[in-house]
């Protein structure tokens, strides 16, 4: 066994039965280590994500008690997942590689406009629209990345911001004949999924109760794929190289890595998910507002990621959920009628509280809580 100890996942799958026989006697701590190994496994992450996205719209919009408390609705569930994809991809760059981009609005908006333009002029199949828009976002990310990564630290952030704002102004006037300028891109028409399932219609039977519409199912599938791919990236050589660059860039170069290309890879990978999110934003809203390219969009994804927890796989998704819940539910006057106009303030207070008290974000709070409970259990 000792040769395999560097490979816990494989040992687990190969010798699962013998391991369970051995740990059966050591009760709680044994169960815990076993669970931790299972939890790290790729299939577990995927299954848990599927369960999560299947229950989410039901809990938010239809379940008794919980949905009354949350005041959510179906479309909000889709929107949270769309932004969630953007945020978990963004964290590859911010949380893992340690690069703060302030220009991801360009890629998100680029994906959104590409999808909108395609649907209005070329194809209506949601899969094709999203696929091509993602390719467009990848190309855009390569260009922005190559230009911005010439400088590090704050200069990188400023360069990304500058390029993104340039694209915003291009879209607002000179390219208005394509983008619709200040009015945004209208005439978006998303066709049925695989030629037969209208995105706006309800899913049959139990799936309808849980997931709601085909549109949500489509977006949820994209989220599951995104989580699976990002989980794989984090467990590939890239995961550890990104962390190495984050912690000690010079040393990473002096063990032989082409740091600039890895940074570009991180930028393009995060841009891919930004583009996917943007394209799904169009599929979700069937309209592309000009503000999707504006710098505040870049700011929003930073806030979502930091709020949820940088450097955690699912934290940014939670951050997106909190942000959008405040933006859409609290702003509507919930839980108090008078609070509506102050939703920005509420968001600010939540943000400041989390950042000051839990620097690792909401996800960090969850982790701390779990660690506290397990130590308590083991002390018994």
């Amino acid at each position: 066994m000792s040769d395999e100890s560097a490979n816990p996942t494989e040992t687990e799958t190969d010798g699962g039965e013998t391991v369970s026989g051995g740990t059966g006697t050591t009760s709680l701590s044994g169960i815990r280590t076993r669970w931790e190994r299972v939890r790290e496994r790729e299939s577990t992450v995927i299954v848990l994500t599927i369960v999560g996205v299947a229950l989410f719209p039901y809990l938010l919009a239809r379940a008794p008690v919980v949905s009354d408390l949350l005041q959510g609705y179906q479309e909000l569930a889709s929107l949270i997942l769309v932004w969630g994809i953007f945020a978990i991809g963004f964290d590859l760059l911010l949380g893992r590689t340690g690069l703060l981009s302030f220009g991801h609005a360009a890629i998100w908006g680029g994906g959104a406009y590409a999808a909108g333009w395609l649907s209005a002029n070329v194809v209506q199949s949601p899969l094709l629209i999203v696929g091509i828009a993602v390719l467009f976002a990848v190309v855009l990310s390569v260009v922005l990345g190559v230009l911005s990564l010439r400088r590090g630290g704050i200069y990188f952030a400023i360069l990304t911001l500058a390029f993104a704002q340039m694209i915003y102004y291009m879209a607002s006037a000179p390219l208005a004949f394509i983008t619709g300028g200040d009015n945004g891109l209208t005439g978006v028409e998303i066709g049925p999924l695989l030629g037969s399932f209208d995105l706006g219609s309800e899913l049959p039977s139990i799936a309808g109760t849980l997931l709601g519409t085909w549109r949500y199912a489509f977006i949820a599938a994209a989220l599951v794929v995104s989580v699976a791919v990002i989980h794989r990236i984090l467990n590939s050589p890239y995961g550890i190289v990104f962390r190495a660059i984050n912690e000690n860039e010079r040393r990473a170069e002096f063990v032989g890595f082409d740091v600039r290309r890895y940074k570009l890879a991180a930028f393009v990978l995060s841009g891919t998910f930004a583009g996917l999110g943007g394209a799904l934003f169009t599929v979700h809203g069937e309209y592309v507002p000009l503000s999707s390219l504006y710098w505040t969009t870049s700011g929003e994804v930073v806030i979502m990621t930091v709020l949820g927890g940088v450097g955690s796989l699912l934290g940014p998704l939670i951050g997106a959920g909190i942000y959008l819940w405040v933006e859409y539910i609290v702003s509507g006057g919930y839980p108090f009628d008078w609070i509506g106009p102050y939703w920005h303030l509420v968001l600010g207070l939540i943000f400041v509280t989390v950042v000051v008290l839990f620097p690792q974000g909401v996800w960090g709070l969850v982790e701390d809580g779990r660690a506290w409970i397990t130590t308590r259990l083991e002390d018994r």
């Binding site: 560097a6 490979n7 996942t9 494989e10 790729e42 791919v229 794989r232 990236i233 467990n235 590939s236 050589p237 890239y238 995961g239 550890i240 190289v241 962390r243 190495a244 912690e247 000690n248 010079r250 040393r251 990473a252 170069e253 002096f254 063990v255 032989g256 890595f257 082409d258 740091v259 290309r261 890895y262 890879a265 990978l269």
Partner: protein
């Protein structure tokens, strides 16, 4: 043919000449120490070889090929590795991950498009990691975050990272600076072991004369950017120029 050669290497910083026409040759399997008073240009020389600095004039040749225009990571990939004077480690990663990164750099080259391949498929990297950590005697602490190691262990991890890059030539910048006598002894025997087991060529920049005379086959003495003497420890010990320049005339 020498493993590493510098030819007429000059580095000027705004009129200050840090290295002045330095020609050195390191043979394969040698242990060479570079010594000299503060400001003699030792660190500049190392930084020129690792390509952290661009030379003003001259050429650096490694294994018969010029590396003067290579990027630092390319130099590492060709087989020159450096251990830093201050432990330059990845503090929040575990000891094992620290070594794994270096082993990955050696196995995979400077860049690869393998972001969808799971790390557990690369057993050669795991072997390299384990071998290195056993060599620097840190395998038992592999799950400890590197930042939590005591100072001496951090320095040994630093050397481990340099070794895990599987170099042909290892440059060590004051490997025992700031260490306690026990840690210094442990590091010296580590250097000896590494030399024996891996057949590395070593270039050592060091202040501690005891160590220099103990581990070196040959010593190069720099003063004001120039090579003023070169020879076996015995020859250097008896060289009047060296005593004058470096030791201020004090008898060793």
């Amino acid at each position: 043919m020498a493993l590493l050669e510098t030819r007429g290497l000059v580095k000027r910083f705004n009129g200050l000449t840090a290295t002045d026409d330095v020609d050195i040759a390191i043979e394969e399997g040698e242990r060479v120490s570079v010594i000299g008073p503060n400001g003699a240009g030792k660190t500049t020389l190392i930084n020129l070889i690792t390509r952290m600095l661009d030379p003003t004039e001259g050429d650096i040749v490694f294994q018969g090929e010029s590396i003067t225009n290579d990027a630092p990571y390319e130099v590492v990939q060709q087989g020159i590795s450096k251990s830093f004077q201050t432990a330059s480690i990845f503090p929040e990663l575990t000891v094992e991950e620290n070594a794994e990164i270096a082993a990955l750099g050696a196995e995979h080259g400077s860049f690869r498009l393998n972001f969808l391949c799971h790390r557990n498929r690369y057993s050669a990297v795991d072997d390299g990691t384990k071998r290195t950590l056993e060599a620097v005697d840190l395998w038992g602490q592999r799950e400890v975050p590197a930042a939590d190691l005591p100072y001496g262990d951090k320095r040994r991890l630093e050397i481990g990272i340099a070794l895990a890059s599987e170099p042909d030539l290892l440059l060590m910048d004051e490997p025992t600076a700031g260490m306690s006598p026990e840690e210094t002894n442990a590091t010296v025997s580590l250097i000896e072991d590494v030399k024996e087991e891996l057949g590395l060529t070593l270039v050592l920049v060091e202040h501690d004369m005891e160590i220099v005379f103990e581990v070196s086959d040959r010593i190069i003495v720099l003063n004001r950017g120039r090579v003023i003497a070169e020879g076996t420890p015995e020859e250097i010990q008896g060289d009047p120029d060296v005593q004058e320049a470096y030791l201020g005339g004090v008898e060793l």
